[in-house]
């Protein structure tokens, strides 16, 4: 039997850049094929070619043994290829059932038949192991995980034989990831093929069958066994060099004075009674699941949400609740969780993103010279090795890791004393990750007080001096990171969360 899909020598040229420069990919029916590569390696372009959104300039695609050209997304859809993008392309204002049948609504004489649509949706959701999602519920009211399930139901409604998933786990907590894996296993058991894209190597070990690695628009390794290939080999293939996925050592310098003091901080309905202090040079880590309240806590410390109880002091001075400008004046900075929507002006040049909070420093009586902030901002981005080095490029043209460095550069230029980092390595490739770790360490060594939030427990343990475990809006455990290990933190983080599978008992 021929493979379900083969792609050979795919080339895609955009003005000024060769996004794909000879990519090969083989996918068999019933397998989970993992696609690995750093940001900018060409993964997104490849799946757009596969989905019919881009036409390749060169190369051959064979589908079920016959050569094909997917000229439009509809052609790929008809052939049985469904893509679940990172930003889900669902309509939040429609119901679950309407989203499942979107574009192919069951109808008679032009009138839609909502009952039939609901039956289709209900059957598919049951097949996906989520019968608890009501077909009539407005989609926007579901969690990210629930929306992803609906997205998969939509793919199945079209009888997809190949489902492409672009970083599906990025928005899920560990339990939801396990649910996703169960669904994927059921799909592949029925002969559906899955192309799975993720930055997390451990997930690929767990769910993947074979791995294809992309680098700089080329396939550098094809059909590696997902479980047996050593991690070091995979990283070497992705980055072209071998790096230790390791955290830089702690600085030997003793900690300085207390800089940030949070006392009894709370916000009705979100979290309560949060107290901690951070000294100059110290890194405090907040570990917790998505929805545990960890992001809400640091956004409230920063004043982006208004505290309903407690106080935040920077070097003894109490900050006005709910005022970001007050926090920034006191020397705080936040690298927010959603880099694109909360952190950056995507269309503006790098230097203007960097100088935004520090702008008055470059102005005289409110007047700025022509790009008078370019040199100072450019010096900081160069110091952080932001690539490409031209600080006048729009931020949108940079990779995820470099965009994160731009946000960090902003607070470096501002000269902040307290840095709040919310998921600083989300969507950042392995190489840039180590650079960001080293940078965080260096900032601490320079005397900045740092609060770090991350879903990745090894990251918190590897960087933080002290770890606070957050669960359901409360700090349930505080300990030096040296006294904790990954298993212990995971236990604490999940303690009262119901075990896997119980959700299915309802309905």
């Amino acid at each position: 039997m021929p493979p379900l899909l083969t792609m050979r020598g795919i080339v895609k040229q955009f003005p000024g850049v060769r996004a794909l420069d000879g990519v090969d990919l083989d996918v068999e029916a019933g397998e989970v094929h993992c696609l690995l590569g750093q940001n900018g390696a060409g993964k997104s372009t490849l799946i757009k070619v596969l989905a019919g959104a881009h036409r390749p300039d060169e190369g051959e695609v064979t589908w079920s043994g016959a050569p094909v050209v997917f000229a439009t997304p509809q052609a790929a859809d008809t052939a049985g290829i469904a893509t679940i993008y990172q930003e889900l392309d669902l309509v939040p204002g429609l119901s679950v059932a309407e989203n499942v049948v979107l574009g192919h609504e069951p109808s008679r004489l032009g009138f839609t038949r909502p009952r039939d649509a609901e039956d289709v949706a209900r059957a598919l959701l049951r097949r996906l192991g989520h019968p608890e999602i009501p077909p009539r519920r407005e989609l926007g009211r579901l969690s990210a995980a629930g929306q992803q399930v609906v997205s998969m139901a939509r793919a199945l409604a079209r009888d997809a034989r190949l489902i492409v998933m672009d970083e599906p786990s990025a928005v899920l907590d560990p339990e939801e990831v396990q649910n996703l894996f169960r669904v994927i296993r059921e799909l592949t058991a029925e002969g559906v093929a899955v192309v799975y894209i993720s930055h997390r190597l451990e997930e690929i070990r767990e769910i993947g069958d074979r791995v294809t690695v992309l680098k700089d628009g080329r396939t550098v390794a094809r059909n590696l066994p997902a479980r047996e290939t050593p991690t070091a080999d995979v990283i070497r293939l992705m980055t072209g060099r071998s790096i230790e996925y390791a955290f830089p050592p702690r600085a030997a310098e003793p900690l300085g004075d207390e800089v940030l003091a949070v006392e009894g901080l709370g916000r009705t309905g979100e979290f309560a009674g949060v107290s901690f202090t951070v000294r100059a040079g110290e890194i405090i880590g907040l570990a917790g699941l998505v929805g545990s309240g960890r992001s809400e806590i640091i956004e409230t410390v920063y004043g982006a949400r208004k505290a309903t109880a407690g106080s935040v002091r920077v070097r003894g001075k109490q900050l006005r609740a709910g005022s970001v400008p007050a926090a920034v004046r006191a020397g705080m900075g936040l690298c927010p969780e959603e880099r694109k929507s909360q952190g950056l002006l995507m269309g503006e040049p790098v230097y203007r993103n960097v100088s935004l909070p520090a702008l008055t420093r470059f102005a005289r009586g409110g007047f700025l010279g022509r790009d008078s902030d370019l040199d100072a901002a450019g010096a900081v981005t160069a110091q952080l090795d932001v690539r490409p080095a031209d600080a006048t490029r729009p931020v949108r043209t940079l990779s995820g890791g470099n965009q994160q460095k731009v946000v960090l550069a902003r607070w470096l230029l501002q000269g902040c004393r307290v840095l709040l980092l919310d998921e600083p390595t989300r969507g950042v490739d392995v190489g840039a990750r180590s650079e960001i770790y080293a940078l965080i360490r260096k900032l601490a060594a320079d005397g900045v007080a740092i609060v770090l939030v991350s879903s990745e427990v090894p990251e918190v343990l590897g960087l933080a001096d002290t770890v606070l475990v957050v669960r359901e809006g409360r700090v349930v455990h505080t300990a030096p990171s040296a006294e904790l290990d990954e298993g212990r933190v995971l236990d604490l983080v999940m303690e009262s969360v119901s075990p896997m599978g119980t959700r299915d008992d309802g309905v």
């Binding site: 955009f14 003005p15 000024g16 850049v17 060769r18 700089d216 920063y302 982006a304 970001v324 400008p325 926090a327 920034v328 004046r329 936040l334 927010p336 929507s341 909360q342 952190g343 950056l344 002006l345 995507m346 269309g347 503006e348 203007r352 935004l356 909070p357 702008l359 008055t360 102005a363 409110g366 007047f367 700025l368 010279g369 022509r370 040199d375 450019g378 010096a379 160069a382 110091q383 090795d385 690539r387 490409p388 080095a389 031209d390 600080a391 902003r410």
Partner: protein
């Protein structure tokens, strides 16, 4: 090296960039921070004229090249169709007619780049003109009249801004409500009558000329220049782009988004106040019927000037060129005794064509 080569290089990998542009730099060596900037600068400066042309096209003036072309085209049509078109007096007439709506457009450009919209400008101007020309206000003399017009405009803008920033009502609704109530208040104050400007200083503004050019055109020019400087050379302007482009990112970067939003509407109101003095002088009346549909003319000019209606991107020069295009069309129709119905059809077509052309240009530049 062509532009696309340079871009391909910088995206192909940092090592190659250093190698190509630094020349002597070793592939393995990481150049010092300032050295790298210097090299990039030198590389950019060394690029031949082709890329300078493309940079010019990408700059504010360049992006408006299309509008300049339209203006030239209109000029040619004018010269061919009416022999009075290219006379000094006719050109000054065009500029005088453009001056009032032009001043209003400056304010609207600020609001739209800042991510808002202001539908109330025409009637706020009418209200200002009425309030400044009541018998009582006129009795205090020209300084008080001017102060009154500016204060009423800024006050209306302040109310708009407060309701939008703190009341969290969308700008479209707030300013629509302001349009309606400003009209009502203007009618109530004036008793639906045109109030004659008896003050000689105010009435004389429109008749005054320096070096043969009407004072109204000077006022227009000063407002545009001040507006340009504020938008492009001050922290206020830079923050306006930031808040319009991504308000949440601007807020988390420490900007006071609410205060800034209020100030944007106050700026728009201030421009209405200035325009109110100008129209009161030009027509020698203050009237609630002034400025009808000015908001749509101003928004149309801003849009064909290339400013994104969603905010964060735009140029003041483009907006002013937009005003001049519309005013010139009106002038051509009058000179050729054509009906205003046809004129409006032409204006509508120009808006659509301008937006289509810009969308295409943006796609091309985004793809590179």
């Amino acid at each position: 090296m062509t532009v696309s080569d340079a871009q391909a290089d910088s995206q192909a990998g940092p090592d190659r960039v250093a190698l190509d542009k630094g020349g002597a730099l070793d592939k393995g060596a990481v150049p010092a921070a300032d050295e790298r900037i210097r090299v990039e600068r030198a590389a950019r400066a060394a690029e031949p004229n082709g890329s300078q042309l493309s940079r010019l096209l990408d700059s504010g003036a360049g992006r408006n090249l299309g509008l300049v072309a339209v203006l030239v085209l209109l000029g040619i049509v004018g010269v061919l169709s009416a022999d009075t078109f290219l006379t000094t007096s006719n050109l000054l007439t065009i500029l005088t007619q453009a001056s009032i709506i032009g001043v209003i457009t400056v304010g609207v450009t600020f609001v739209i780049i800042g991510g808002g919209i202001d539908l109330s400008v025409g009637k706020v101007m009418a209200l200002s003109s009425v309030w400044a020309t009541t018998v009582a206000t006129q009795s205090y003399g020209p300084v008080v009249m001017i102060f009154c017009a500016l204060a009423v405009g800024m006050g209306a803008g302040l109310v708009n801004g407060l309701l939008i920033a703190y009341g969290r009502i969308v700008p479209f609704i707030v300013t629509l409500a302001m349009l309606i109530s400003a009209q009502g208040l203007a009618e109530q104050i004036s008793g639906r009558r045109s109030q004659i400007v008896t003050d000689r200083v105010i009435a004389g503004i429109a008749n005054t000329r320096f070096l043969g050019i009407p004072l109204l055109i000077y006022i227009f020019a000063v407002v545009v220049i001040v507006g340009w400087v504020v938008l492009n050379r001050t922290t206020f302007g830079r923050r306006t782009f930031a808040i319009g482009g991504n308000p949440e990112a601007a807020r988390l970067a420490g900007l006071d988004v609410r205060r800034h939003t209020i100030l944007l509407y106050v700026v728009s109101g201030l421009c209405c106040g200035v325009a109110a003095i100008m129209i009161a002088s030009l027509t020698t009346t203050g009237s609630s019927t002034h400025g009808t549909l000015y908001e749509l003319d101003a928004i149309a000019a801003v849009i064909i000037g290339g400013t994104l209606l969603s905010g964060g991107r735009g140029t003041l020069v483009g907006s002013i060129l937009g005003v001049l295009v519309f005013t010139t069309i009106t002038n051509l129709f009058i000179l050729n005794n054509l009906a205003t119905e046809v004129q409006n059809i032409a204006k509508g077509a120009i808006i659509v064509i301008a937006v289509l052309v810009q969308a295409r240009a943006r796609r091309t530049s985004a793809a590179s």
